[in-house]
Symmetry: C2
Subunit: 246 residues, 2 copies
């Protein structure tokens, strides 16, 4: 996993397909990831058709990777298959609740990330789309996801046709705590965020958005209270519709 | 990542410490994992002290790995640090909602899994404890986790002192779908679960529990409706207490 030191999200892909056998091998390897009771509470939907990519694109705010990547993978938290298994085996499943939703999310996200690590090690490039949970109902309808499933992650996948600059990271002292959570103070914030705030690209980001601080770009433009609260309501509605909350 | 093919959860550890420099290196490498807006919405609490392990153990149903492993890591969905950063930078954060909780969960779980992949590649053994979300309030109190944080994963970590048998996995045709979700039917269930149900250890599992089918062991004993519904209520209460739901 030496590639991890130099990994970057890839948004431009070469005009070259991702071989189906390779994809299947990577998915099989990723399924070695630990899951709850070894139940593998996930499904992966493979999108290759142009038509389906076009239908998914607006659900990811028309980010161009969705239609340009040879493959789009949607990782789904899935208690439907296990529930059906139980029903066909004279067992009474009780997985229509919030805890079960979260159990399935964990399985799906952990397996997704092993897949990402494997794919990047194999030389593929990918971009993780956090938009998956912003308009889940549209994705559910498009991919025909049944009750007790929920899309939790999407990646666009292909052979890299760009090599963007490495993005910055907080140093470990910002996020690693010994024994108990170390209080966040004005001093730790200055120490942990100074280098991020000093980056020329971030200063430019503040300038072009007409803001005073980098944090304001996040709170006022990228991830606003209004958007978050609106999408939280949609998220809760969708959890109910998919059967995870009564 | 050739190790992935033969990975197993490790519950017994050699009497040998995990070097702090190695741990820090693996955590730094894992932080290359993509996150929302590169905000790294997670923290990791490192538990090495015997006293803290003893306090955590009952919160994980006294699984012996918690006190026996040299290191216990708790991965925390963390919007507290980012919120404090915003408050100290004249910005108005709006991350006290369900969507933000889920954003932070995604970041924490993806980073956790990259850490697992890296640690196992380095020859370490680990066990992922799904129990983290069963009694979250106790973990929050013990690790002194502030508002807008939530523990989502725990791993026990050390040098392996066992080599358990490889566990089975569903074949990819059970969980990979082309273009749309393929309906689960009696036929696909028989195809996908037959080999799991036929395993001698699973048949023994059914027998000693006095059940008719393997699925009943899961629904009636391991993950029951009663437990799931009780823990779902606790989970929701805890989300409110941590400030993610009003």
């Amino acid at each position: 996993m030496k590639h991890i030191e130099t990994r970057r999200s890839i948004r431009k892909y070469a005009d070259k397909d991702v071989d189906e056998a390779l994809l299947q091998r990577l998915l099989a390897q990723a399924s070695r990831t630990q899951t709850m009771g070894n139940l593998q509470l996930y499904s992966v939907i493979v999108t290759r058709s142009e038509e389906m990519k076009k239908r998914l694109a607006p659900l990811h705010f028309n980010q161009p990777m969705v239609t340009q990547a040879p493959v789009v993978l949607t990782f789904v938290a899935d208690f439907h298959r296990t529930t059906q298994w139980a029903l066909h085996r004279n067992a009474e499943p009780g997985y229509d609740n919030l805890l079960s939703f979260f159990n399935a999310c964990e399985d799906a996200l952990l397996m997704c990330q092993t897949f990402c690590n494997l794919a990047e090690e194999a030389g593929l490039g990918l971009c993780f789309l956090g938009t998956t949970i912003y308009q889940p109902q549209g994705i559910i309808d498009t991919l025909q996801l049944p009750r007790l499933t929920f899309p939790v992650a999407t990646i666009t996948l292909g052979w890299p046709a760009e090599e963007p600059a490495l993005s910055d990271r907080l140093s470990t002292e910002a996020f690693v705590h010994n024994e108990t959570y170390r209080p966040v103070t004005a001093e730790t914030i200055d120490r942990d965020y100074a280098s991020k705030e000093a980056l020329p690209e971030n200063q430019e980001f503040v300038r072009i958005n007409g803001k005073e601080t980098l944090a304001q770009v996040f709170t006022d433009i990228r991830y606003t209270r209004k958007d978050n609260e609106y999408m939280s309501e949609i998220f809760m509605e969708c959890l109910k519709k998919q059967g995870f909350i009564k």
